[in-house]
Structure formats: structure tokens, C-alpha cells
Amino acid sequence: MDQKGYRRGSFQSSTSDEDMLEIAGASVDLSMADDDPPLDREMGGFSSYNGGGMNGTSTMMDFLEEPLPGVGTYEDFNTIDWVREKSRDRDRHREITNRSKESTWALLHSVSDAFSGWLLMLLIGLLAGSLAGLIDISAHWMTDLKEGVCLAGFWFNHEHCCWKSNTTFTDRDKCPEWKSWSQLILGYGEGAFAYILNYFMYVVWALMFSLLAVLLVKGFAPYACGSGIPEIKTILSGFIIRGYLGKWTLVIKTITLVLAVSSGLSLGKEGPLVHVACCCGNILCHLFTKYRKNEAKRREVLSAAAAAGVSVAFGAPIGGVLFSLEEVSYYFPLKTLWRSFFAALVAAFTLRSINPFGNSRLVLFYVEFHMPWHLLELVPFILLGIFGGLWGAFFIRSNIAWCRRRKTTRLGKYPVLEVFVVTAITAILAFPNEYTRMSTSELISELFNDCGILDSSKLCEYVNDFNSTKGDDLPDRAAGPGVYTAMWQLALALIMKVFITIFTFGMKVPSGLFIPSMAVGAIAGRLLGVAVEQLAFYHHDWAIFSGWCSQGADCITPGLYAMVGAAACLGGVTRMTVSLVVIMFELTGGLEYIVPLMAAAMTSKWVADAIGREGIYDAHIRLNGYPFLEAKEEFSHKTRAMDVMRPRKNDPPLTVITQDSMTVEDVETIVTKTTYSGYPVVVSRASQRLVGFVLRRDLIISIENARKKQDGIVSTSIICFTDYCPPLPPSSPSVLKLRSILDLSPFTVTDETPMEIVVDIFRKLGLRQCLVTHNGKLLGIITKKDVLKHIAQMANQDPDSILFN
């Protein structure tokens, strides 16, 4: 059975990040633990705090107060117990504060404990910034490698190669040190044969890069594919995915991200950068005991790391924090806000000092103009918003349909071949059109650019009338032939990007979708902007234009339209609100354009929400069946706890453990026969009065440990969960006391509680399970999976799509 084998597999999987504990089948191999560094003394304080709200200062001389490796940790693909983790951290903090009054050393220890969070943020910022710098520089170089090589030093890309060339004004776009492949191989760069050779080399390089990327992902770290943001959202809500934020995933993701971006595929690097930053956060957490041992504190650190990731992707620290708050994090306490901001700033500062793009810019498409806009231009901006919303909804529907096909049919069995074919198609279609041949970031940069006198690109080939030129401000001019060529080429590029991104996002290479969405929006925006500009130029005597756009004035900025279009499309796909506007306004460096950006973002979100409720990341979470309890949706049905709890009417009764009348053998039978992750403990089967809740993993570990290490524990020994065990005749085997693993304060609701309140409790407290009582007696249990299935059922979706526990 899939589940059984799955469970065993998850027992045996262990990562070198986490506790090095192997549980083969149902037996614990404690000898493996000896390979690791000895548990530090702080663990001694922990075990007595297991079980949530237990009285931690118990003075009982219980043999099992000794720390057991593994108790209190979680299995792979399980949800953490937020309440237990948080109370553990509070207990630890209380202990340190109490001890700090004893000696200077303890005082220093408490001070260093308080500072460890800030030190960790600093390290995360440094590492994330450095990795982002490495990714930027390498990707920039490798993208240009497809077209040619620099003779002055093979490590220079096109722009840096031409930096040194001393050219005259008329030749300022020529660059003798940079040789395209045909120039290198054939000796000349013009002509049909040279073009074909360039084409061929472009396709070959693209294929090589993407094949290398997918082979590295498949061979070393299969978790490194995809965007990473849906999985990180799930991890931050309390799910455990061992190895997803590990060292190998970090290395492979960094390397293959560069390869995937350089191969010309229609994907971006922002989403994977968030994954890379979270990996850095997770790895650096192991340096600090406070964060290594506590899953809830670690998730605070991961929220901050995600903020640092977005900050280096866009050069927008505030936008990064807001993105982490809005999109990625589940619980975001105020302390995390300040620390995330610090991490994001340090990361942005580190990236700035590495200076990947020269001129201390952090992003290739930084906008430097501050031209004013007119209120009437809001109409085209809202049109762009509507386009963004429509495209977002279309993209989400088609991408999810394609990913579902990849999941369920034979298409999913050939990942390497799929990457090969998609890259081949992308490269072959992209080379002829100049605007798809260049990297997407460069395309966005060119589209955002406002044309000046000295711009010689095709998009800026307007009909110049030098007599009316005053300084650098160019008036609105008629479009020259270059602009018309650029327009239809851009239209073709738009169509190609709209369709090819659907097949690219979700492949088995790291892929983000911020940059492709922004490219689609920027192209649409620029097209509309040039159209409006020409309309204003040729019909400047119309009523709508005459007031503010007289002849010779510079009123329409097509670059601004491109920016607004990019924001609209990005908002339509991801449904970001505040974070999107803040990221875009940090990109432009000013508040002038906030109103157009907000108008477009709001319009696109409303239009997209009218068509489909979910953003792309939530849609992928639902597609993969992750147990993510959506915190933003209202639960509005009138069901009650008794409708959702298990056991249902026709099911066998609830599996319980009694507090002092079951033997070791009975408990082992229960544990092997059922697959529940925890069992309620009651006073007796007759009374069904609740004592507490015990977790399966803790039970297994404790019983195995007791059988091996404790004297006199046999299959007929009684297990006792209470402080005072009933007296037994002297001939019976000794009692196994498991009071320390029992959670004495499980959450309960009555069976008449409305499900609205139950769902709210699960969301706000982060519960895994909740017991249901009736008239004070234990009736059933509701787990998070039951809640998710119920929500899916109420929304007429497939409740069996919730896969994980």
C-alpha cells in the first residue's frame, strides 16, 4: 500500500541537517546517534518540557526524564505542533533568564542568546547577498556566451568587454573586442552563412545549458526544481519537508538557476532566489542552538530570509519584507518585521558592494526618469490593468492544466526530454526576433527606457527635428520606420512569451515567473504607450489632448506605460497588492508613479479575482495537495464539529490508550495496526474521560528505548501515564512510566462547536489535531487533514486531493 511504504520510507529518510536518527521500521537504531557530536547539556532541560503546557519544574526522579534523542522531533511530511514549540521556547527563555541572575557567565549567556537572532540575520543577509551577486554576474556572462566571446578576457560579458574600447562618436556601438561565434570561427560576421552559424551556436549553447541543469537537478538534488515559493509557503505554515532547505539543494539550485536563466528559457530568477535565501537561513540556523532545536523559531528566521531573497532580487528591501509578510509567511510577529527588514537591508547592501551591474544598481532594469504624467492617462493605465488581470487568469488556468497533465500522464515520465524539447523550441523561435534573442531582463530594461537624444536603439528611432530640440528634453515626435519595425517584432515577441511561459513554468529546472510576467506586461505597455504617443502627436488638436499635450511638448512617456503594464501583469498572476506596488516604486526610486501603479495593480487584481480566486502559488499548492490551511479565506458554512470529526457514524470507535491499564504489548499492537500520528489517553475505557494526548513517534521511541535500556520492561509490563501509578503485586514486572511524553493540555472543543470557530482555532493556534468531547467525555478527533478535506468538500473540490498528513 502506498501509504505504508511511504511511512517506512519517511522513517528511513534522514538528512545530515537534522537529527541524525534512523528509524528502520518500528525500531530505533540508537547506535547511529553516536556518530554525531554529543548532545549538549541544554537538551537536559528540554525533555522535561516535552508535552506542551506541562509543569516544567517537576521534581520527580523519573528515570525517563533523561533526554531521549528523537523525542520532540517530527517525521518528514508532517505538521509541527506550533503550541508545543512556542511553549518550549518560552520555557527555555525563562530558564536562561532565571539562571542569568546566578553568575556573570550565565548573564553573558543570556545576553548572547538575545543577540543571536540579530547575528543570525546579519549572516543570512551577507550570504544571501553574496549568492545573489554570484548568480547575477554568472547569469549575465553565460547569457552572452550564447552569442559570442570576449577576446580581452573570456570572463567578460558583452557590456564589460566593450567598456574599454576607445571608439569615436559615430562608431560608439561597435566593439572590436567582442567576437560573435561566426566571427570567431569563420572570420567574418556578415552574410547568410554567418547568420546560420550564429543561429546554430545559439541553439547548441541553449540546449547544453538546459540539459546540464536538468541532469544536475535530477542527479544531485531533485528538490531544487521549480520555483520553490509554494513549498516554502507550506513549510512556513508548519509543514516539514526534510532536505528541501538543505546544503545540496542550495548548491544545486544556485548553479542550475544560472544555467536555466542563461539557456534563454522564458523563466526568471526571483522565485528561486527566495528558495536560495531560505536555504541559507536554514543552514545558518544550525549554528545557533536556539534556532536549531525549535521549529517555530526557525520559521521566523525563514520568513526573514525570504524577505532578504526578494530584496536582492529586486533591490527592494521594503518590498521584500512586505512580500514575505503578504505572500510567503503564515505567522508574522512584529519582532520578525524588524529583523526581516534588517536582513533585507544587509542583503541589499552586500549585493550593492559586489556591484554586479555597475553603477551600484541592484537590478538591470532600474528606472531613472521622473517625467510627469497626466490624469487622463489613467484610462490607458486601467486598460493595462484589465489586460494584466485577464492574462493572469489565463496563465494560471493553462499552467495548472499543463502541470496536471504532467503529473498524471506519461508526459511526466520524461523530464529530461521535456526540458530538451522546450528549450529547443524556445531557442529556435527566439533567435530570429531580436527582442526574444536578448535576455528577458535586458528586454525589460530596454522597454522601461525613456528615449533620449543619444539612444540609438530601434525603439527610439523617431523622426528628429533638431531645430526644436532644447537640451535633452525631446518632444513627442512622429515614429520613424525603426519604431514601426520594433512594434510588430514586439507584438510577435508578446505572443511567443505568452504561450511559451505556460509550458516552461513548472519544469524540472529552477524557474521563476516574475520576470516573464513583467516582460509580457512591459511589451503590452510599451505598445500601448507608443500608440497613445502617436495618437497624441498626430491629433494634438483633439479635445482630450489639446489641454495638456500641445505640439512640441513632451507629454507621453511610453516607458512609464511599460512599467505600469509590467506591474499589472505581475499582479494579475501572483495577486500581490501592497508588496507589488512597493517593489515597483522602489524600482523607480520615487513616489511620482504610485498612483498609476496602484490603479493598474488594483484593476488587475479585481479582474483576475473575478475569473479565478487563487493566485499562481496557491493554485500550485492545491495542485500538489500540500496541507496548507489558507489563512485569508473565510469559512462560511454552517457545519459543526460533529460533522467533521472522526470516527464517523459507521466507523470503528476511536483508538484510545488508557492511562494505567494497558501493557506494552497492547500499545505496540495498537501502534503497528493503526497509522494515526497520535492517540488520546483516557482514564478508562468505560469512563472515556480525557487525560491527555500522546504522539506516535514519541511512543515508539520511548518504548524501544525502555526495552533496550531499562531493566525489567517486558511485553506484559504496564504502561503508566500518571504521576502515581496503581500499586501492583510484587511478582508483576516493573511499570513503564511514560508521563514525560504525555501532553496534558490537548485542545478540545465540544461536538456542537460551529466549524467556523474550529477552523479559526486551527488557523490561529496552528494546531495539528483537536479532540472533540460531548458532555465531558471524549467523542472523537479532528485533524488538520480532516479540516482541509472538509473545506475542499464544501468548495466542491476533490477532497481526496489532500495528499499529505
Partner: protein, 205 residues
């Protein structure tokens, strides 16, 4: 060197001794990366990496020209950089309005170091992958304890995977055997991940 690197490099031999191989190589890579990125970030830029570039288009009967000069960012404007001024004094302002001056800086050392680091990491990974695919099965065949990697379906159903920890449990103290054990564990993890992502499509589709 960075102060962090001065702290970290003495720890490296101790880390190498204690940590297992599969955790060493990425950690060592990360440390190497961090330390090699520090000096370029702090390195003083050579004079040819900073400049102020002014492009002046044709004006009346003067042809267009490009002026480069190594000045600070505050002085990067037409008046400081365009020398000798081709127009007489009263025309200077009109001429300078047409010129576009930009301050540019870059660090060639950073670029060179980063590209070389990147290519070496890719090369190392490729070699390791070639080693795992080609050389490793030939070495492992005579070893009776190790399960061949392609028999994982049989291993899952039988309890034989439970037998794998026991050789390691037999006090594998030598560095080589610990490295072997760690490598086997890592390989199993990657197998597990590959099954989850590629075969069962449980995640990341």
C-alpha cells in the same frame, strides 16, 4: 582577508575531521565562496575601473565626441570632463546641455573571481556526477554489504534497507568508512527525493 574568513579557516580542518563527506563538500564550497567573495568586494578598484563618460552629439559644425576621465561622482559633469572645450565661453552652456554624462564603475577582479569560482564548481559537480555514474558501480560491485542503487524497489519491500545501518553500527571509526556511510546515506536521500519528485509526482509538479 575578511575577518570572517580569518575566523573560519582555522576551523576548517576540525570541520573536515568531524563532518561527513557529503556535508563537507557543500559546506566547504560555501565557505570558499564566502571568503573568495569578500576580497573582491573590498578590493580597491584599479584606476581603469572608474570613469566618467560624457557623450556629446554633433553641435553646429563640431562633430560628436566621447570624453572619458577618472573623476569622482560629484565632479562627473560636462564642465569638469569635457576638455578641451570645443566651443567658446558663451556657447558652453548650450553645448553642455546636449552632453550626457554618466559615472560608471566596475570591478574586474570581482567578475573574474566569480566566473572562475562558478566554472570550477560546475566542473567539480560534473566530475563527481561522472564518478558516481561510471566509476562508483565498478568499485562497489565486489562489496557484499552495499545494495546496488537500481534495486531500490526490491529493497523497499524487503526489510533489507534496515540491514544497511548495521555495518555502520559496527563502530565505523575510520574516516574512510564514515565517509562511505555518509555517502550511502546521502545517496539514499537523493533516491527518496527523486522518487517523490520524478516518479510519484507527489511534490513540485
Amino acid at each position: 582577508l575578511c575577518p570572517v574568513c580569518e575566523f573560519l579557516f582555522p576551523q576548517a580542518p576540525m570541520m573536515l575531521a568531524q563532518c561527513s563527506w557529503n556535508s563537507v563538500s557543500p559546506v566547504v564550497l560555501l565557505v570558499l565562496l564566502g571568503c573568495l567573495l569578500c576580497p573582491p568586494a573590498e578590493a580597491s578598484k584599479s584606476s581603469e575601473d572608474i570613469r566618467c563618460k560624457c557623450i556629446c552629439p554633433p553641435y553646429r559644425n563640431i562633430s560628436g565626441h566621447i570624453y572619458n576621465k577618472n573623476v569622482s561622482q560629484k565632479d562627473c559633469n560636462c564642465l569638469h570632463v569635457v576638455e578641451p572645450m570645443p566651443v567658446p565661453g558663451n556657447d558652453v552652456e548650450a553645448y553642455c546641455l546636449l552632453c550626457e554624462c554618466k559615472y560608471e564603475e566596475r570591478s574586474t577582479t570581482t567578475i573574474k573571481v566569480i566566473i572562475i569560482i562558478y566554472l570550477s564548481v560546475v566542473g567539480a559537480l560534473l566530475l563527481y556526477m561522472a564518478f558516481l555514474v561510471l566509476v562508483d558501480p565498478l568499485i562497489r560491485k565486489p562489496d557484499a554489504y552495499t545494495q546496488p542503487l537500481h534495486n531500490e524497489e526490491e529493497n523497499e519491500d524487503s526489510r533489507s534497507l534496515g540491514a544497511v545501518p548495521t555495518p555502520a553500527g559496527a563502530r565505523a571509526n575510520t574516516v574512510l568508512e564514515r565517509v562511505e556511510g555518509a555517502q550511502q546515506r546521502w545517496k539514499r536521500q537523493v533516491q527518496e527525493q527523486r522518487k517523490t519528485v520524478f516518479d510519484r509526482h507527489k511534490m513540485l509538479s
